[in-house]
């Protein structure tokens, strides 16, 4: 059996769950906060889940965005940030551009410093959420264009990294 770990961020809080597929079809063991919930689930139509937990039925609608996941449950919509395994997250990004417009709240590196792929370079706050700017590859910090409290626009290059050979 394969165990998968999922993390979701909501309201600046990261929730970690592990999920395991049970032997029967559509049966799962979900563990959260040291408690395991045995459930069975069926997808009525794309995104519409009918989950059986003990003798209760959870009816939820799930949709996936680029960086977020959304759940509709009992009339409430919840907007969660996907927290992907670090290694995957960086592979996706090629250049170093800000994904969002916001304010620089922290600069973690200095010019001339060498960084490793995945190192956090800068923290941007937008709409009360923090976004991490990470190094896309191993390299040396060539130029830092913004300092703390400065405004950054989506698509801007906040830091230039010179890629180290190999």
């Amino acid at each position: 059996m394969i165990n998968l770990e999922f993390s979701y961020e909501y309201n600046n809080h990261v929730y970690k769950l592990t999920a395991e597929r049970a032997k029967e079809n559509d049966a799962y063991l979900i563990t959260f906060n040291n408690r395991t919930y045995p459930v069975t689930s069926s997808e009525i139509k794309p995104g519409y889940l009918r989950i059986k937990l003990d003798d209760r039925v959870i009816k939820a609608v799930v949709a996936e965005g680029n960086k977020n996941m959304f759940v509709f449950l009992d009339g409430n919509a919840f907007n969660m940030k996907k927290v992907l395994p670090t290694s995957k997250r960086i592979e996706k990004k090629d250049g170093l551009v800000s994904p969002i417009s916001g304010k620089v709240v922290n600069v973690k590196v200095k010019e001339g410093l060498s960084v490793k792929k995945g190192d956090v370079l800068m923290v941007i706050e937008a709409m009360k959420m923090e976004y991490l700017i990470k190094a896309p590859y191993d390299g040396i910090v060539k130029k830092i264009h913004l300092s703390v409290d400065e405004q950054i626009d989506m698509g801007m290059i906040p830091i230039e990294i010179e890629k180290t050979e190999g």
């Binding site: 998968l4 999920a19 459930v39 997808e43 759940v71 919509a77």
Partner: protein, 501 residues
């Protein structure tokens, strides 16, 4: 009747009007900015014309571009919807000049009603009650003091150029008046560079109640009863209902007559709305006239059975109103909720992004006027109104319960919306009692804004089950394939079939 109409708007209202045209057999032209090229209103229209630059001033507010599009496509009339150019007399004038029918009143009437002071003076002459006040040019402190005393207390002293509460004072006693006039002048001077003041009787616990009217070019005017629009946040209506919970048959008749009189006094044609303020003793005063289709027109349609947009088109094409006041009636109770892309837990800031799932509630007497669909991107360029949800029931309680149900079954994912806030209002005990004023949200929801609901464990379970079912990376995919479905199952080869086929 027109053969082709251009709709100079976007979003839900463009779609509402497009559908009315199509039902009437009139060809339609949509206009769109670059940001709206794939919007549902463009899809629905028979033809469309691009307006380019998404900035409102370069697209939906650009009179020349829109007139040009109408001429190019051979549209005989333009429906402006609400917002954008709907109450711009220059636009109506430009249409008149280009030989295109503007679906609305004449440009000089729009201009007159757009001047709030002049409009009030006209209404006063026509014997429509207005809020007692002083709106004159004489501004000496002792003269204003005398005027204020004459109007009585509580009294509102406000800057003529004002807004946002600056240069505004509520005066409860004569002793406070002198100081209030001086203070308001100082504040107005520094905030607006103009210290002209207005004096008005201050209405304690006012309600906002408006009357819908229809007027044709032959002097026929009918009213379609009232809408209660007191539930507002920062002067933006949030929930509207009809009939008003305070309305009596006698008061309705009086206000309806006043609304018709107001429309007659300015030679109004087409659909319009007379907005009244109603004080706690149920006196009513003319506030302003909206010379266009209102956002909340569907609740009137639900209670009267009259299609306001179709009448707008018929009236503009020169037809006579065949509705008659005596036979018009209200039936049941209707409520509208405005679904905004805004985050109540983040100071109601507008949100933008991609709508990952949109499934509005359906059921008896539930109407969805929407400009959105799954997969659509909501940009920050325009008003955050995504959709309107309108329900009607046998009575107010029935309608409220239906609205709560409908909101609870409104799947709208991808962008934060105000639906949780709407539900809080509808289930509030004071709202249920019908005890509402324009201060309702400020009074009852002052401290509500900061809370975001706790996430239930069920939501987390649903998420991880979903992720488990849709696991994407290499290892996870293998698992999915082998345990979710059997690749050798005969069902895999059956293809599409139905029992009984």
């Amino acid at each position: 009747m027109f053969k082709k109409i251009l709709i100079a708007n976007r979003g839900e209202i463009a779609i509402r009007i497009l559908k009315a045209c199509q039902e009437m057999g009139v060809k339609t032209v949509a206009v769109y900015s670059d940001a709206d090229a794939y919007s549902p209103h463009v899809q629905l229209a028979d033809e469309s014309a691009p307006l380019g630059n998404p900035l409102s001033s370069e697209s939906y507010l650009n009179i020349q571009k829109i007139i040009h599009a109408a001429v190019e496509t051979g549209a005989e009339a333009i429906h402006p919807g609400y917002g954008f150019l709907a109450e711009n007399p220059d636009f109506a004038y430009a249409c008149e000049n280009a030989g295109i029918t503007f679906i609305g009143p004449k440009s000089d009437v729009i201009k007159l009603m757009g001047n709030k002071i002049e409009a009030k003076q006209r209404m006063e002459k026509a014997d429509v009650p207005i809020i007692p006040g002083y709106h004159g040019l004489r501004q000496e402190n002792n003269f204003l003091f005398k005027q204020g005393k004459k109007i009585g207390f509580p009294l509102l002293v406000k800057a003529a150029a004002g807004g946002g509460g600056k240069g505004m004072r509520i005066v409860h006693r004569e002793e406070e008046l002198e100081e209030a006039i001086e203070g308001a002048k100082r504040e107005a001077k520094s905030a607006f560079g103009n210290d002209t003041l207005l004096l008005e009787k201050y209405l304690d616990k006012p309600r906002h109640i408006e009357f819908q009217i229809l007027a044709d070019a032959y002097g026929n005017i009918v009213h379609l009863f009232e809408r209660e629009c007191s539930i507002q946040r920062r002067h933006q209506k949030v929930i509207e209902e009809s009939p008003s919970p305070v309305m009596t048959a006698e008061m309705r008749e009086k206000m309806g007559k006043a609304a018709v009189k107001a429309a007659k006094a300015v030679g109004y044609t087409n659909a319009g709305t007379i907005e009244f303020m109603v004080d706690s003793s149920l006196n009513f005063y003319f506030m302003e006239m909206n010379t266009r289709l209102q956002v909340e027109h569907p609740i009137t349609e639900a209670t009267t059975g009259v299609d306001i947009v179709k009448w707008q088109i018929r009236i503009a094409s020169g037809e006579k109103i065949t509705l008659c006041q005596e036979t018009l009636s209200q039936r049941g109770h209707a409520i509208e909720c405005r679904i905004y892309a805004e985050d109540p837990a983040n100071g109601f800031l507008p949100c933008s992004g991609v709508l990952t799932k949109v499934e509005p509630p359906v059921g008896p007497n539930i109407r969805n006027d929407m400009g959105i669909e799954t997969g659509m991107e909501v940009t920050a360029y325009y008003d955050p109104l995504l959709a309107k949800l309108i329900v009607s029931g046998e009575n107010r309680e029935d309608a409220i319960n239906k609205m709560v149900w409908a909101l609870s079954n409104y799947v709208l994912l991808g962008i934060t919306t105000n639906t949780s806030f709407l539900k809080e209002i509808l289930t509030h005990e004071a709202f249920r009692r019908g005890d509402i004023t324009t201060h309702f949200i400020d009074t009852h929801f002052k401290n509500w804004f900061a809370t975001r609901p706790e996430i239930p464990v069920e939501a987390l379970i649903a998420l991880s089950v979903y992720d488990m079912m849709n696991a994407k990376s290499g290892v996870q995919k293998e698992v999915t394939v082998s345990s979710v479905s059997d690749p050798y199952s005969p069902w895999k080869r059956a293809g599409k079939w139905r029992i009984g086929d």
